[in-house]
Symmetry: C5
Subunit: 376 residues, 5 copies
Amino acid sequence: MKKANVPTYKNLRKRKKRIPGESPGTFVVLDNALPSKLRIYAYDEENIAELETSSIEKALAFVNSHPEKFYWLDIQGLGSQEVLNSVQQKFNINALVMEDIVNNHQRPKYEEFSNCIFVVSRVLELDENINLKNEQLSLIVNHNFLITFQEDYEDILNPIRQRLVHKKLGNIRTLGPSYLLYAIMDVATDHNFNLINRLGDELEIIEGILYDKPQKSIMYRIQGVKKIMLTMRRIAWPERDKLNDLYKSSSIFIHPDVKVFLRDVADHNVQIIDLLETYRETSTTMMDIYLSMINNRMNEVMKILTVISAIFIPLTFIAGVYGMNFAVEDPVSGKIMKNNMPELYWENGYFFVWVLMIVITVLQIIYFIKKGWFRD
Amino acid sequence: MKKANVPTYKNLRKRKKRIPGESPGTFVVLDNALPSKLRIYAYDEENIAELETSSIEKALAFVNSHPEKFYWLDIQGLGSQEVLNSVQQKFNINALVMEDIVNNHQRPKYEEFSNCIFVVSRVLELDENINLKNEQLSLIVNHNFLITFQEDYEDILNPIRQRLVHKKLGNIRTLGPSYLLYAIMDVATDHNFNLINRLGDELEIIEGILYDKPQKSIMYRIQGVKKIMLTMRRIAWPERDKLNDLYKSSSIFIHPDVKVFLRDVADHNVQIIDLLETYRETSTTMMDIYLSMINNRMNEVMKILTVISAIFIPLTFIAGVYGMNFAVEDPVSGKIMKNNMPELYWENGYFFVWVLMIVITVLQIIYFIKKGWFRD
Amino acid sequence: MKKANVPTYKNLRKRKKRIPGESPGTFVVLDNALPSKLRIYAYDEENIAELETSSIEKALAFVNSHPEKFYWLDIQGLGSQEVLNSVQQKFNINALVMEDIVNNHQRPKYEEFSNCIFVVSRVLELDENINLKNEQLSLIVNHNFLITFQEDYEDILNPIRQRLVHKKLGNIRTLGPSYLLYAIMDVATDHNFNLINRLGDELEIIEGILYDKPQKSIMYRIQGVKKIMLTMRRIAWPERDKLNDLYKSSSIFIHPDVKVFLRDVADHNVQIIDLLETYRETSTTMMDIYLSMINNRMNEVMKILTVISAIFIPLTFIAGVYGMNFAVEDPVSGKIMKNNMPELYWENGYFFVWVLMIVITVLQIIYFIKKGWFRD
Amino acid sequence: MKKANVPTYKNLRKRKKRIPGESPGTFVVLDNALPSKLRIYAYDEENIAELETSSIEKALAFVNSHPEKFYWLDIQGLGSQEVLNSVQQKFNINALVMEDIVNNHQRPKYEEFSNCIFVVSRVLELDENINLKNEQLSLIVNHNFLITFQEDYEDILNPIRQRLVHKKLGNIRTLGPSYLLYAIMDVATDHNFNLINRLGDELEIIEGILYDKPQKSIMYRIQGVKKIMLTMRRIAWPERDKLNDLYKSSSIFIHPDVKVFLRDVADHNVQIIDLLETYRETSTTMMDIYLSMINNRMNEVMKILTVISAIFIPLTFIAGVYGMNFAVEDPVSGKIMKNNMPELYWENGYFFVWVLMIVITVLQIIYFIKKGWFRD
Amino acid sequence: MKKANVPTYKNLRKRKKRIPGESPGTFVVLDNALPSKLRIYAYDEENIAELETSSIEKALAFVNSHPEKFYWLDIQGLGSQEVLNSVQQKFNINALVMEDIVNNHQRPKYEEFSNCIFVVSRVLELDENINLKNEQLSLIVNHNFLITFQEDYEDILNPIRQRLVHKKLGNIRTLGPSYLLYAIMDVATDHNFNLINRLGDELEIIEGILYDKPQKSIMYRIQGVKKIMLTMRRIAWPERDKLNDLYKSSSIFIHPDVKVFLRDVADHNVQIIDLLETYRETSTTMMDIYLSMINNRMNEVMKILTVISAIFIPLTFIAGVYGMNFAVEDPVSGKIMKNNMPELYWENGYFFVWVLMIVITVLQIIYFIKKGWFRD
C-alpha cells in the first residue's frame, strides 16, 4: 500500500540459465523467441527497393534480382532456426557469432572477422512505470551488406528507414552499410540519452518531494532509480569501449568517411556516462539527505517528549507529595503530630505550591530556550 | 520557509531532448536561440580595424577590404540560420561541427580537421543566489582566422578585446589566432578559478554556521554546494583533457610559441580540479560533522530526559505510596488494623520520607556525575 | 535461533598454513588429499579409446598402445605421491608447477613453459545452504596431451566427456588438447554463471522480505551473500586476466583456431564480473534500506511514546493537583482556610476539571496532526 | 568556548583572486610581498665567497668578480619589482615562469626550458596551534647557477648553507647547482616528513582521548587534522610527479651523478604519501569509532531510562490505584458499599501491596538481567 | 578495564624523526641499534664452511681462505659503525644504500647498481597480543656474494641456514647468491602469509562474538585488526612491485634459472594482497553489522519503554482521576454537591474502573501485536 501510485522501477529482463557443457558454436534459437520477419532494402544513391517477407529464400532472390547495390537485411524475431541457419551459411558467419546473436544477453561489443564485422548494441526502454526493458540489437556489416538482428517486432529504427527511403539530406545512401551502422548507433545513443533524461526528471520529482514533505516511499523511489541506473551503467561503459574501438578500427568494412561520424556518436555516449555518474552521486546525496531528515525528525520528537516530561514530571512529583496522607493526629491513639505535613495546614499552602510549580516551569522554559530547543 | 534567505544553488541549464534519428550533420538553430550579432576584428602588429554588424555579407566584405591580416570573427547569439550557413560555407566547416556549435550541450573538447581546429569550452557563471549558468563557447581556428560562437550577448571576453585593441604588453597581436585562442582559454580558466573560490567562500560561511549554531538549513546548503560542484567537475575533467591535447597537439594551426602558454593554462586548470576535489571532500566532511552533531544533540536531549525521569519517577512513586488510602480502622466494622501504613502515623514520618527522597536524589546525582553525564 | 531456517552462507575452504622455509620445488601431497584415480582418453577424429585405472604405469602403457593420437589424462584426487611423481617425470613438469598443483590454494593463472602451458582454474559450488565450495582444477597442455588435476572425485567435466566420446557437433575431436582446454574453461565459466544467478535469486528473495516484513535476519543474509561474493570476486578478476592472457597468447600449444573460442569465453567471464559488481552495489543498497527502515521504525516507536506521554503526563499532573490534601480546616486548631483548594468545593469542580483535560487533549491532538505525525 | 585549549587546525593561506584577462607573461609583484633580500654564494670545490645585499647590481658585480665558479643566488622576499626584472633579463627567464614565481599559488612542478630548468616546491609549516603555513619555493637551475625564490625571510635552507660553507662530507661543492637543487629538495622532504609525523602524533593524542574519555571536541579535532592532511595531500601528489620527472629527466642542467640522489628523495616522498593515506584512513576510522561510541552511549542512556521507567511506572500505577477514593459509605446517603476497594480494609492490605510491588520489581530485574542489559 | 583480556593490536614501531639537512650519503648508525654480529658461509655444491664472529677483519680473512666459492655474509645488529664502514668499502656500496640500510624505515624496494643489486624487505611479527613488530631486512647481491643486514638477533632465516648447511633437495647450493635471495624472499612471504592467516582467525573469532553476544569491545577489536592491516597493506603493495621488478629484471646478478622461482614468490605475494583486501572488506562489513546491531538493540529498548509507558501512563492517569478530592459536601458550609465525582459513590465503581483499565490494556496489547512489536 505504501507504494500505491509510485513507479515500480523494475528490470524486466529475466536472467538466463546457462547449460554448462553445451557444445560451443552450435546455436539453437530460444524457446520463447518470436518467429523471424525479414525486411530487405536494396539501394544505391539513385534507387531503392524494399521487400517484406518471412522467407529467407525470397529475400536472397530479391538480392540477386537487384545486383550491384547496397543491402540492408533487417531480421525481427530470432525464433526461426532455418532462417538463421540460411543467413549463417549464405554470409559465412562464425558459429560463435550466431550463438551471441540468439543468446541475447551479450554486453555491447565489437568484433572484427575476416569477412565481416560484428557489433552488439543494447536498446533500452522505460515504460510508464519506469520499468527497464533491455533488448539486444546485433549487427553484421560487410562491404555491401548490413544485417540487423532484433528480438522484437517493435524497434527504434523507423527514423532510419524513413531517411533511407526518402533520401533526405546526408550520406545515408552513398556511404554504404557502415554509414547505416553509424546511423543506427546514433539513433540508439539519442534514444538512451532521452532515457537518461527521463531518469533525471524522475530524480527531480523525487527531490521535490524530499524537500517538501519527505515520506517513507522516497527511500524506495531513490533506490529504484539507482537500480535502473546500475543496469544502464553496466551497458554504458562497454558501449563506450565498443564505439571507441569502432571509430579507431582499421577494418576495411568501415568507410573512411564514416569514422568522423562514429567519433561523434562516441562523444555523445561519453555524455551519457557523465550524466549517469552525476545522477548516481545525486541519488546518493538524496539518500543522505533523507537519512539526516529522519534523524532530525527523531530529534524533534525527542525534544517534545523531553520538554513535556521535564516540565510535568517534577510538578507531578510535587502534587504527589502533597497528596500523601501523613497524619497530624493518630486516628487510633489521637496523638497530635504537628510535624507531619504542616504545609497542608498553612493559610495559603495551596497558593504557595502553585507559585512553586509555576516558578519551576518558568525556569525550565528559560533553560530550554537558552539551549535553543525552540529555535529552528 | 526554512530556506528563507539561503542561496538556492540551482543548475539553471535545461536538459535538451534529443530527437532520435535526426539526420546527423544537418544543423538547425534552436528555437530559443538569440539572433546572431557579429563583431569582426582585422589586425596585425601595427593596425587594427573593428566592425559590428548583424550581416554576414558585410562581415565578409570587411575581411576582403582588410587583406593580409589576422581576423577574429565573434558571433554572439546562435539563432540566425542563414548567418551560420554562410559561415559554414565560407570556411568549409564540417556539418557535425556546426551541429555541435548550435546544440549547446557539448562537453569541452578539441578536434582537429584538415582545414581548422575546433574547440568547445564551457563558461560558467554563478549568480548572487549561487545558481549556476553554464554556457557553451565554441571556437574555430585556422591559420589566420579565429571564429568564436557564443550563446549569449554578455560574455567574458571583454578583457581580451581591450588588450587586442589597445595592444598592451604581450604577443596578442603578433602570434596570430592561436594566441587569441590561448588568451580566451586563459580568461575562461581564470574566470572559473574565481567561481571555485566563491564556492570555497560559501563553504567557509557554511562551516562557520555549522560550528557556531548548526541548523537544519546547513544540510541543504552543503548539498546545494555539492550539486554545483558536481556539475563543475563534469566540466573540469574533460576541460583538462582538452587543454592537454591542445598543448601537445602538432596541428599547424597552433603557433609553436603558443604551446608554452597553453601548457600554463593547462596547469591552472589542474589547480581547479585539485580545488574541486578538495572542496568535495570538505563538504562530505562537513556533512559528517553535521550528522554527528545531530546525534550528539539527541544524546544530550536523551540525557536530560533520563536524568529528570530517573530522579523524579522513583520519588513520585514514594509519594504515591504514602498517598495510598489503606485504613487503620475499617469504617464499617470499626476494626483497628495497626499494620496498615503505620509510617503515616509516626511522629516524624513526613520528615523521614523527605530524608529518604533527598538521599535517593543525591545518590542518583552522584551516579550520573560519576558516569560523566554532566561533563562536556 | 534467530537464523533458524536461513541459509548459512559459509566459505567452506580451510585456510592453509604455510611452513616457511620449505624447500621450494619439492612437492608433497597434502595429508587429507584423496588417492588418485586416473582416466585416460586417446582419440583422433575417427576413434576414441578410454581407460580407467589407478595405476600410472597402466595409463602410460595405454598411451604407448595408442600412438599418434591426442590424449586426455584426467587425474582425480591428488593424494598419491608416486602417481604425481611419475607424471612429473614423464612430462618433465617444472617442480614449482607440481607444487602449485598439490597446494590447492592458487589463484587462477596461466603460465607458459618451453614444453607445456599450465593453467589453474577454480571451480565453485554452492550447496543448498549457500555455502561455497571452492576447488582447484589445474591443467597442463602440450601439443598432444591434456592433463587435468582435480581435488575431488566429483567434477563438472561430464558434459565434456560426453561430447568427446559421442563426437557431437563441433571441433572437439579435431583441434587437439587446446580445444579441450577451451571446452573446460567454457564449462567452468557457464557453471560459475549459474552460481552468480543463484546469488542473484537469493538477493531477490532477500529484497522481497526486506520490502515486505523486514526482520533482523535480513542483515545476516545480506552480509552472508556479500561474503560469498567477496570470495567469488577474488577469483573472477584473476580469472579474467588468465583468459585474456590465454587468448592473446602466442604459445605453440594453443591451436590458432581455438583463439576465437577463448575470446568468447573471456567475454563471458567479463559478464560474470559485471554481475558481481552489480550485485555488490545491490547488496550495499539493500543494507542502506534496511538501516533506514530501522531508523524509520524507531521514529515511529518514539512518536507513539511521545504522543501518549505528551497527552497523559499533563493530565496526570492535573489529577495529581486535585489529589493534594491541602486542608480548608486545620484538624488541630480547627482554623478555616478558605483559600486552600477552593476548586474542590465548587458545585461543578469535577465537571470543570474534565472539561479542562479534554480541551488540553484535543489541542495536543490537533498539534500533532498539524505536525503530520499521524500521516505516513 | 568548546574548543578552549584545543588546536585550531587552520589553513593560513588566503585564496588568491585572479583577475581574468590579465595579460599573461606580464608579472607584477603582489601588494603584500616583502622587499627582496639577496644572498649570493660563489663557490668551487676549494673556495667559497658570500655576499648579502639588497642590490641586484652588487650581486651581479659580485658574480663578475668571482668568475669560473658555481653560484647560488638566494632571493628572499618577492616584493621588489626591479630586482626581479633584472634577474629576468640577466638570466633570460620566460615571462610565464616569472609570473609563476611571484603568483605564489603554484602546484609543485618541474618544467624544462632551453636555457634552464624551473622547479616549484611548497614548504609547509605547522605552528603550535597546528595551523598550516604553506609557502612557495621556486628554483631556477642552469649549468652554473641556482636561483632560489622564497616568499619569506625565514626559511628551512640554513642546514644547506652550513654544509655549503663548511664543506662537510659529500658532493655539495663538486656536483654543481643541480646537486644543490637536490639538497634543497631533500631538506624540504625531510621537513615535510617531520610535519607528517607531528600529525601522526596529534592523531595518537586524539586516539588516546577517544578511547579514554570521548568528548565532543574529538570530532572537531579529527576533522581539523583531516583538513590539514587534505591540503598536504594536494601538494604531495604533484610533488611526487615532479620528483619522478626530475630524476628521469634528460636535461643537461642536471648532473648525471645527481640522478641517484634525486631518486632517493623521490623514494622518501612516496613514503610521505603512504603515511598521508594511512593517516587518512586512520582518521576516518576514528570518526567511525566516535560515532559508534555516541550511539553506544545513547543506548546506555536509553537503557537506564527504560529500566527505571519500566520498574517504577507500574509500581506508581499500583500506588495510584490504592490512592483512589472509592468510598465504602456514601457520605450523603450513608449507604454502605462493601465492594469498593475492600483491599484498603484488609488486615494486612498494606503489607500485601508491598509484597506485590517487590515481586513485580524482582521479576523485572530478572528479565533485564536475562536480556543482558546489565552486562557490558 | 573494558579491554581486559582483549588483544592490544598495536604497531610497535616508533616513528623516526628526520633531521632535515643532514648530508645525504653519510650514514651514521642509530643510537639504539644493536652491536653487529657476523655470520659468514662459504659454499659450493660440495662443501660449506661457516664462521661466526664479531670482527669484520676475521670475516674477510675467512673469505680469502675459501676462494672460488659463493658467500653469504649475514650481519645481525646494525650498531657497529666500523663494521658497516668496512663492508661499504670492501664491496664499494653506494653511500645512499648504506643510509637506507641503517635508517630502517624504508619501503620494500629493489634497486640496481653497476656492481650489485639492493633489495629491502620488511619482516613482520605478531606477538600474542596482536601487536605488530615490523623490521627491515636489507640484502645486497652481486655475482658471488649475498649480504643480509638485519636489525635484530632473532630472525626468520633459520630454515634457510638449515637447508644451506644440510644441502637438502633443490638448487640452494648450485644457483648462487640470487637463489639465496629468492629463498629468503620466499621465507618472508610464507611468514607474512601466516600472519595474514592469523589476522583472518582473529576476524573469525571477532565475528563469532559479534553474532553471539555483541559487546562494546567488538568495536575496538575490529578497528584494531584494521589498523594492523593498514600497516601490512602499506608494505604489501610496494613488496609486490619489488618482486615484479625482481623477476622481470635483466640484472646480471640474478641467475636466469632463478627467475621462475621469483615469479612464483611474486604470485604468492599477490595472494597476500588479495587476502588483505578481502579482510579489509570483511572488517568493514563487520563494523556495519555491529552498528546496525546497536541500532536494533536501541529499537528494542525503545519498544519496551514505549509499551510499558503506553500501557501504564493512561492507567495511572485514571487512578489519578479517582484519587482527586473533589468533595460532595463542603466541609465548611456543609453544602451537598452531588455532581462531584459521583463515580466514587457508585455501588460497584471500583469494579467498573478495573474493567475500564483492563479493557484499555487489552486494546493496547492488541494494537502492539498488530504492529508486530512482539515479533522478531
